[in-house]
């Protein structure tokens, strides 16, 4: 959680410093992301949206890769099979069918693992979400659909999406089990995901989890929430934020002390500083890359374009 938080906070700073591009902030969603991924087995797949861009950290992906993504550098893309983490889905909701398909594929192969997809409240309005959920339900695939209901889709509040207050109600229409949990409580998240994943792997079919959080930050670095958010509400949410809450709980339990906390923080900071530096010292991407990854068997015309482009213009 702290590593995610540090990554996120540093990203906002790095963006301001011009070291990364537009960045989608996930401050306050760390408990959800960490709780969910910790509940999975390493063989389970994760399908993130842009809001979970750093989810790879939880499986040991180097921070440099993630910063490279936000730097628009080809090294920011990974091999999904290596980490069992699908590519970040930029179009909202559009990866829900991919998660359903992957889970279906695992089931057909008899593999005993499951798939978890993250998406937002806004995503539940998309046709892609609906068709993905529909397939998952029809084929009873081992998937866990985690909806991060953070109250906002950019400037649009959740209730304006479909008039439903509790997004978990959407599960009913697919004949799926649904639970609604506090997405700021990492233990609640871990337990709910663990239950759902266990059941999914055992052939119990897909499940829907509505994790209630609050986006107490701009949608992304380019956003201006003062136009639509109540500052008091944001302040209140920031006071209830997940990491502070969890730290004091662990401190009360005696599991964590101030020294440990600051040690974890320092370590995370060092990791991110190292990550951004590594990302920045990546070699300039080679424009040939533009041509070489789209097709396994590229059309001749594309190879010709590549050769003439590379030679004729030396890529000024």
């Amino acid at each position: 959680m702290v590593r995610l938080r540090t990554y996120d906070e540093r990203s906002v700073v790095y963006h301001r410093q011009g070291r990364i591009g537009t960045y989608a902030i996930f401050w306050g969603h760390e408990a959800l992301q960490a709780g969910a991924v910790h509940a999975l087995e390493p063989e389970d797949w994760v399908f993130p949206s842009y809001r979970e861009s750093a989810i790879g950290l939880l499986r040991g992906m180097p921070a440099a890769t993630l910063f490279a993504w936000w730097r628009g550098h080809p090294e920011g893309w990974w091999d999904p099979r290596e980490w069992r983490i699908a590519s970040i889905a930029v179009p909202v909701g559009s990866h829900v069918p991919h998660a359903a398909g992957m889970a279906w594929g695992l089931k057909l192969r008899g593999e005993p693992s499951c798939v978890l997809a993250f998406f937002g409240d806004g995503a539940t309005s998309t046709g892609a979400f609906h068709e993905g959920m529909t397939f998952a339900a029809a084929k009873q695939v081992p998937a866990v659909f985690v909806c991060n209901n953070n109250s906002w889709a950019i400037s649009t509040p959740t209730v304006a999406q479909s008039g439903v207050e509790r997004l978990v109600d959407k599960a009913v229409g697919y004949g799926m089990e649904g639970v609604r949990i506090d997405g700021s409580d990492p233990i609640a998240v871990r337990d709910a995901v663990r239950d759902a994943a266990t059941r999914a792997r055992a052939g119990g079919g897909p499940q829907f989890i509505e994790a209630v959080t609050f986006r107490a930050a701009p949608h992304a670095t380019a956003d201006d929430p003062s136009r639509y958010m109540d500052p008091a509400q944001v302040r209140a949410a920031r006071e209830r934020e997940c990491i502070g809450r969890f730290e004091s709980r662990l401190s009360q339990l005696g599991v964590l002390d101030d020294q440990a906390i600051s040690g974890i923080g320092d370590e995370a900071l060092a990791e991110m500083e190292g990550g951004i530096e590594a990302a920045e010292s990546l070699p300039e991407p080679n424009p040939r890359q533009i041509f070489d990854t789209t097709y396994a068997l590229p059309p001749r015309a594309l190879r010709r374009d590549r050769d003439s482009a590379v030679e004729a213009l030396r890529w000024r």
């Binding site: 279906w104 046709g127 892609a128 068709e131 993905g132 396994a296």
Partner: protein, 326 residues
């Protein structure tokens, strides 16, 4: 060689590939027990079981979207769209994901997904059962587009599409599904993507076409030959992307004249790409303006009028005569 119709050849190609490779599976609306509304998947459920020949919910973006996930999981899915216009709900998945997943993973992930669909008109159907959407797919980098016009090519291009590591859209001319039965090679048969074929040799002009329009092109060429007016070469592109540019340029270098025929509307249709190729790289060989004979820039009409819409041999002959006058 067995004699079969185009749709039987599609079926044969699918069966061949499913037998060859256990990762190949077919999914779509009514492809299982019904065998597809055109019977293209007839018998596959019985032969390969319900895990590999799957009836899906009525949701085309779901079909292509789950196929992407299935491919990530190591399957080679073949999606059937029941009719071409019902592939439009899946365009988002094609344009946003299917075409980009390999690139997006730095080349790590292959997307050996096939999307096959009947396309084109001439079958007296209600609206949105007769579109020719090839230009949409041809303009999607990362996607390849095949358009068989004969039973043998249908089987061979299906095989090539299934084996290709990149996603391929196969547009099957539904008007030709049962138009005639022709010999099709038994056993493994494979037609390389990106290779056009000259279906009639000629010296005076080149007719460039694909899919459903081949019989129209052939009839027009035949007519001019019978009349002694001209010997027209007919080129069947077979795949639109990759386009066999050399075949187009070579033929036009020989004949000096080109007429392009397709059923889709003209504006920004695939014929424009062929004409552009000639304007860029064949212009010194051209002895006459290029002509496109296409559907008009309107929705495919009510079927009582479709014969006035689909390019006819008459219209092709007229265009040929025009370019031959130069």
């Amino acid at each position: 060689m067995a004699v079969m119709t185009l749709v039987q050849a599609v079926n044969d190609g699918l069966r061949q590939e499913m037998a060859r490779d256990e990762a190949v599976m077919v999914l779509g609306e009514d492809v299982g027990r019904l065998g597809g509304v055109f019977r293209a998947t007839d018998g596959l459920l019985d032969e390969f079981g319900p895990d590999r020949c799957v009836d899906t919910p009525l949701a085309e973006a779901g079909i292509v979207g789950t196929a992407i996930g299935l491919a990530l999981a190591g399957w080679r899915p073949i999606c059937e769209m029941q009719y071409e216009a019902f592939s439009y709900p899946a365009l988002d998945q094609v344009l946003s994901h299917l075409s980009r997943y390999r690139w997006r993973s730095g080349g790590a992930i292959e997307m050996p997904v096939v999307i096959r669909m009947p396309y084109g008109g001439g079958v007296r159907a209600p609206e949105l059962h007769e579109d020719s959407p090839e230009a949409f797919y041809a303009h999607a980098p990362g996607i390849k587009v095949a358009t068989p016009s004969s039973p043998a090519d249908a089987k061979g291009l299906i095989a090539a599409a299934v084996r290709d590591p990149d996603p391929v859209v196969v547009l099957e001319p539904k008007a030709l599904y049962r138009a005639s039965a022709e010999p099709v090679p038994d056993g493994e048969h494979f037609v390389e993507l990106g290779r056009a074929v000259v279906t009639r040799h000629g010296t005076d002009a080149t007719l460039i076409s694909y899919g459903a329009m081949l019989p129209v092109a052939a009839a027009a060429a035949e007519r001019l030959s019978e009349r002694g007016e001209a010997e027209v070469e007919v080129l069947d592109l077979r795949t639109l992307t990759p386009l066999d540019e050399e075949a187009v340029l070579d033929s036009v270098a020989k004949t000096g004249r080109a007429v392009i025929v397709h059923e889709a509307p003209r504006t920004a249709g695939f014929g424009a790409e062929v004409a552009a190729l000639l304007a860029e790289r064949g212009i010194l060989d051209l002895r006459a303006p290029v002509r496109r004979v296409t559907g008009f820039d309107v929705p495919y009409p009510y079927w009582s009028l479709e014969d006035s819409y689909i390019p006819s041999a008459d219209r092709v002959v007229e265009a040929l005569e025009e370019v031959l006058r130069f």
